[in-house]
């Protein structure tokens, strides 16, 4: 079986300097894959590269049979990848419901099935659908951001640090929601600061450092690896 997404020897950056050097990774359908690594390793950059937000010097990106390496973001969205950025990932002045509506902007026709799906995953949001998203707590905002990204019914969801700044209880809740989302047939690629918890919960993981692949394997294997543990997981 070929992977849903595969990034092959990708090199690129924001301008002249390359941030990513020969990075390769893949995500299969129905899989949760975590990228971990120290601050500034290029984790967010790797994620943005999938979404066409980077100038790519070499390498390629295949998604579901298409070469999307040089596609523009709005074409990639339409093809079935949705992205939740690390920061500024909601429309603050707009209500929760309007945030979702904007997420489904490209979808023609009736959105009610999409709203139902998001509100089933996030019952908290349904009660507050008229509330401006900017007035919510951090965890609730993250749910709005994920909900917005799910409105187009993507095949692959990119989440950049979905649990940043959240309490352990919320973190568990977000992870559980990720599993629920995956069970509805959406593959997930996420970047995580909480490396141990993320590797424990993901199917597979990649360790990125200084813009390069350092380790990869199943979550359990990476957690068991002594070098990974010493270098990246704080012993």
């Amino acid at each position: 079986m070929t992977a849903l997404l595969s990034m092959e020897d990708l090199t690129g950056g924001y301008g002249d300097a390359d941030i990513l050097m020969d990075v390769s990774l893949h995500v299969d359908a129905d899989e949760i894959v975590a990228i971990v690594g120290p601050n500034g390793a290029g984790k967010s950059t790797a994620m943005k590269s999938v979404f066409g937000l980077l100038s790519i010097r070499s390498g390629k990106m295949l998604f579901d049979g298409d070469d999307i390496t040089r596609w523009a973001p709005n074409r990639i969205v339409q093809r079935g990848i949705c992205y939740v950025p690390q920061v500024d990932n909601i429309f603050r002045e707009m209500s929760i419901h309007e945030n979702l509506e904007m997420g489904g902007f490209l979808r023609k026709g009736d959105l009610s099935a999409a709203y139902d799906r998001v509100y089933t995953l996030f019952p908290d949001l349904k009660e507050r659908r008229r509330t401006p998203a900017g007035s919510l707590s951090g965890g609730q905002r993250q749910m709005v951001a994920m909900g917005r990204a799910l409105m187009l019914d993507p095949k692959l969801l990119l989440l950049d640090e979905p649990t940043a700044g959240l309490s352990p209880k919320y973190m568990e809740q977000i992870f559980q929601i990720c599993r629920d989302v995956r069970d509805t047939g959406v593959a997930i690629l996420l970047v995580e600061q909480h490396a141990k918890q993320a590797l424990a919960f993901a199917d597979r993981g990649y360790v990125l450092a200084a813009g390069r692949n350092r380790h990869e394997g199943s979550g359990a294997d990476l957690l068991a690896d002594r070098e990974v543990a010493e270098m990246f997981l704080g012993g």
Partner: protein
């Protein structure tokens, strides 16, 4: 001075002038919310709209109010055209470049108006209109139309922004442009829509200034400062704030002649602007994008 004198000679003209400012200020605030620059050609675009209406009145012999929709459509189209030809290429440059370009467009629009229609003062209809008496309040029909147009146009705009898909897309683009792009919202369409609305409102503003007073090639330029003062006073990016700001500036200008010589009336907008920037730069209703 008795109450009715105050209302008839200062407050009512202030509300009318304020409504005219408000129509322009709403456009300024929308352009700032979505494109993030101060559009200095706004006043002269209003002048242009007023003269298009004049051309319809004299050329086709229709009444001024019937010429208004035509002026709105033509000015909206011109605004979109100006953006496509001049501003669009500057979008990735520092915003100050576009601000300076808009000053150039202002001068250009004024020259076009002066070449085509001359520099003489003109009117939509001759003769003096006496105000009607409403229980002691003296109001002219044209004054009622002006306020009604403000309510109708801005009310319609608010409905559009809060109910329609593209109106919400405009708010989304103003709120978080990156996320709007990631959601697949086409920013070129949003920008075009913004110019249609701002251009149309601009024409209405110029038309009603001409309808209530006279039509002059410099009229819009003189409105620029009060319109910006109104937008900033209300909180940049806030449509309802721009309306409130417009009314306050208009009423304040008319009332100011009670205490200062009327030649200095125009300084009122400047004073309000300065005061606001010093005391509460985010405006009365907290601005969104500054």
């Amino acid at each position: 001075m008795e109450l009715f004198e105050l209302l008839n000679f200062y407050v009512i003209p202030g509300i009318v002038l304020g409504s005219i400012y408000a129509l322009g200020a709403v456009g300024i605030t929308l352009i700032f919310a979505i494109l993030r620059y101060a559009h200095l050609a706004h006043g002269d675009l209003a002048t242009f709209g007023a003269f298009v209406a004049l051309a319809c009145v004299t050329g086709m012999g229709i009444p001024p109010l019937a010429a208004l929709p035509i002026a709105i459509l033509v000015t909206a189209a011109i605004a979109v055209g100006i953006d496509k030809v001049f501003y669009e290429h500057l979008r990735d440059r520092p915003k100050i470049v576009t601000v300076m370009a808009s000053l150039g467009i202002a001068l250009m629009l004024r020259s076009v108006v002066q070449v085509v229609w001359g520099v003489d003062t003109q009117t939509y209809s001759r003769g003096i209109v006496r105000p009607e008496d409403y229980f002691g309040l003296r109001i002219r029909d044209r004054e009622l139309y002006t306020v009604a147009a403000l309510i109708f146009l801005v009310g319609g705009l608010q409905l559009f922004l809060t109910r329609s898909k593209w109106g919400k897309a405009m708010r989304a683009m103003s709120d978080n442009p990156n996320l709007a792009l990631l959601s697949g919202i086409d920013n070129r369409k949003v920008v075009m829509l913004t110019w249609v609305i701002a251009g149309g409102l601009c024409a209405a503003s110029g038309f009603f200034l001409g309808y209530n007073t006279e039509i002059k090639s410099m009229m819009g330029w003189h409105m620029l400062l009060p319109m910006f003062a109104a937008a900033i006073l209300g909180g940049v990016g806030r449509v309802e704030g721009a309306v409130l700001g417009g009314l306050i500036v208009g009423i304040a200008e008319e009332l100011s002649v009670l205490v200062i010589p009327s030649e200095y009336k125009a300084a009122m907008a400047f004073a309000i602007l300065l005061f606001m920037l010093l005391v509460r730069p985010t405006g009365l209703l907290k601005g969104k994008v500054l």
